[in-house]
Structures are given as structure tokens and as C-alpha cells.
């Protein structure tokens, strides 16, 4: 399965990943990043098709979509 990691040190909660993901992998959450922003959360890892749109569109380069080996 794929693992989507959002780095809470850098996420600014812009929600572009959430909006852009074709598979609705992300959900808003209550947890705050180190910068104080409300972060999205990768909820539906299993739906991910590894298109990496989220990675490419994240302005903070703080998402990684990894093969969970």
C-alpha cells in the first residue's frame, strides 16, 4: 500500500492537496502543524493511485507519497 506523509513541520494547511487529489484521499483535520495551521489528513491511503498530483502541487513540498515497504 502507499503511504502519504504530510510533514507537520512545514504544512501550511492550504488544502490544495485536499482539493487536487483525484481520489479523495485527504480530509480536513483538527490537528495543527508546527506553523499553527490546520492540516489535512491522509485518511484513505488505500484509494491512492500514486499519481503524485498532491506532491507536485504542494507549495511547501511537504507531502511524500511512498511505497510502504
Amino acid at each position: 500500500m502507499l503511504k502519504i506523509i504530510i510533514d507537520d513541520k512545514y504544512c501550511k494547511g492550504c488544502m490544495i492537496c485536499f482539493n487536487a487529489c483525484p481520489k479523495d484521499v485527504f480530509k480536513p483535520s483538527d490537528s495543527r502543524s508546527k506553523l499553527g495551521a490546520l492540516m489535512p489528513e491522509a485518511k484513505n491511503h488505500e484509494k491512492c493511485i500514486d499519481c503524485k498530483i498532491c506532491e507536485r502541487l504542494c507549495p511547501e513540498m511537504c507531502i511524500s507519497v511512498n511505497k510502504d515497504e
Binding site: D7, K9, Y10, K12, G13, C14, M15, I16, N19, A20, L35, A37, I53, E55, R56, L57, C58, P59, E60, M61, C62, I63, S64
Partner: protein, 265 residues
């Protein structure tokens, strides 16, 4: 942090000082990928002017010259001419490049000097807080056009083509892959290349022009209004064309100078 960020960004400068959802980060993202793919890190220097967009290269862990407002291309030309064996990429804003810096732009294009220019068009002066840019749409309200902009917006890519740029392309932040590929093409291209990237500035453009500060909404607005075929664009509408507009082969400026010097030896 993404592994490429880990590899190519200056850690001590993070987090990026861009507002949440700013398109500048996305351009940085694409740039890092382009550098990685081309493996040009050691042969590439970045130059920028002043503006939010001019901060893009400041995070790149390569040689970087962060210069004065409007002068990025003048510095870039000096740098390139002093080391014609190296590559120079410029990050600049619509104001930095098309406003105060317009003269250096047209002359650099005319000379066909081998520089890659990435111009971030967010329709506004972001860094100084939302004043009118030369690209601001007609009738749009900004801090310095509170009753609506009386000026026609500047089609910078068009002028660059008229001035002689040999690679010219335009994308929005909806096309991260095309941005990356165009940057790679532009760096590889021998001659003056110009990339116009339409980005969201959720804080200033969002507030004043689009009246919507959600970055995604601006990206959607761009998606709805852009086309890759001229036929698809309605005349008089606010639609605009994306794509690679020019790809010309013409002897490059530094090569001409080198050839001339060779002739004198």
C-alpha cells in the same frame, strides 16, 4: 519533507516565507524536479529581482544572486556573459520583469542570450501588499486602483515574442508537469527562453481581484479560462492561451561573441 526538497533546498531558510497556498512554492517544486532530472545543479546559477516570486530561488541550494527590483535580467546577462559555459535561470514577477524591468526584458530577448526566465504572473504586486501590476486586468480593483484599473493589461509573452525570444511558453499552476518540462526545455535551449507561469496569490490577488482567498479557487478560475488551442478562445473574453508559443533555433549571443573573439586570435 519531500526527498527532493531535502536534497535541493536550503534547510536553514525554511519554512518558505510564502503565504499558505501561494503558487510560488509550486513553481519551486517544479524547478527542483527539473534541476534533478537535468542534473545541472553544479552548472546552474539562479538570479532574481525583488518580489515574492523573486524569493523562489533563495531557497535553492545552488549559487543564487538575489538582486534589485527590476534588474534581475541585467544581472543575469552579466553573469551569463562572464561564464558562457554555465546556465542561468531567472525567477521574476510580473512587476519585476514586465513592470520596472521591461526594458532589460526586451533587450535580453532581442540579444537571444542564453538565459531562462521564469516569470510568475499573479496579476499583482504581491510583496508590497496588493498594488496594481502591469498585468492587472482591466477594471480590476487593487490597492492602487480602488475604483478599477484604467490600464490595459500587459501581455508580456507577446512582447517577448515580438522582441525576439526564441523559446516562449505559458502555463498555470494547474500544469505542474508541463511547467517542469518547460523549465527543462528552456534550460537546455540555447537562446533566450521565457516562461510565463500564471499563479495564485491567494492573499493579495485573492483579496482584491478575485475576492476569494482560497488558493484552489484561483487555480480553478485559471483552469476555466485557459485553453491550449487558439480556436478555443473567445475573442474579447478573459480567456487566455497556454502552451509553447515559440521554439526557434537562432545563433545565441554568447556564441556570437565567442566566434568574433576567435576571429581576432
Amino acid at each position: 519533507m519531500h526527498e527532493l526538497a531535502e536534497k535541493y533546498l536550503r534547510k536553514e531558510a525554511l519554512p518558505l516565507l510564502f503565504c499558505p497556498g501561494c503558487g510560488n512554492g509550486q513553481v519551486l517544486n517544479a524547478t527542483v524536479r527539473a534541476i534533478d532530472e537535468l542534473k545541472v545543479r553544479d552548472d546552474l546559477a539562479a538570479v532574481s529581482g525583488i518580489g515574492c516570486s523573486s524569493w523562489i530561488p533563495v531557497y535553492l541550494d545552488i549559487d543564487v544572486l538575489h538582486t534589485l527590483h527590476g534588474r534581475a535580467l541585467a544581472y543575469a546577462q552579466g553573469l551569463k556573459l562572464s561564464r558562457p559555459d554555465k546556465k542561468v535561470i531567472v525567477f521574476t514577477g510580473d512587476g519585476d520583469c514586465g513592470g520596472i524591468g521591461g526594458n532589460h526584458l526586451i533587450h535580453a530577448a532581442r540579444r537571444n542570450i542564453d538565459i531562462t526566465v521564469v516569470m510568475i504572473n499573479n496579476y499583482i504586486y504581491g510583496m508590497t501588499g496588493g498594488q496594481k501590476a502591469p498585468t492587472t486586468p482591466y477594471r480590476s480593483k487593487t490597492k492602487t486602483s480602488p475604483y478599477g484599473n484604467d490600464e490595459n493589461p500587459f501581455d508580456v509573452s507577446k512582447v517577448v515574442m515580438a522582441a525576439g525570444g526564441t523559446y516562449v511558453a505559458r502555463w498555470t499552476t494547474n500544469q505542474p508537469v508541463q511547467i517542469q518540462k518547460s523549465i527543462q526545455k528552456a534550460i537546455t535551449h540555447k537562446g533566450f527562453s521565457f516562461l510565463e507561469i500564471m499563479t495564485q496569490c491567494p492573499v493579495q490577488t485573492g483579496k482584491y481581484i478575485f475576492k476569494n482567498q482560497d488558493p484552489w479557487e484561483t487555480m480553478q478560475w485559471y483552469k476555466d479560462r485557459s485553453a491550449t488551442k487558439a480556436e478555443d478562445i473567445e475573442k474579447g473574453s478573459d480567456q487566455f492561451l497556454l502552451g509553447e508559443f515559440v521554439e526557434d533555433v537562432e545563433e545565441e549571443f554568447c556564441e556570437r561573441i565567442a566566434r568574433e573573439r576567435d576571429g581576432l586570435c
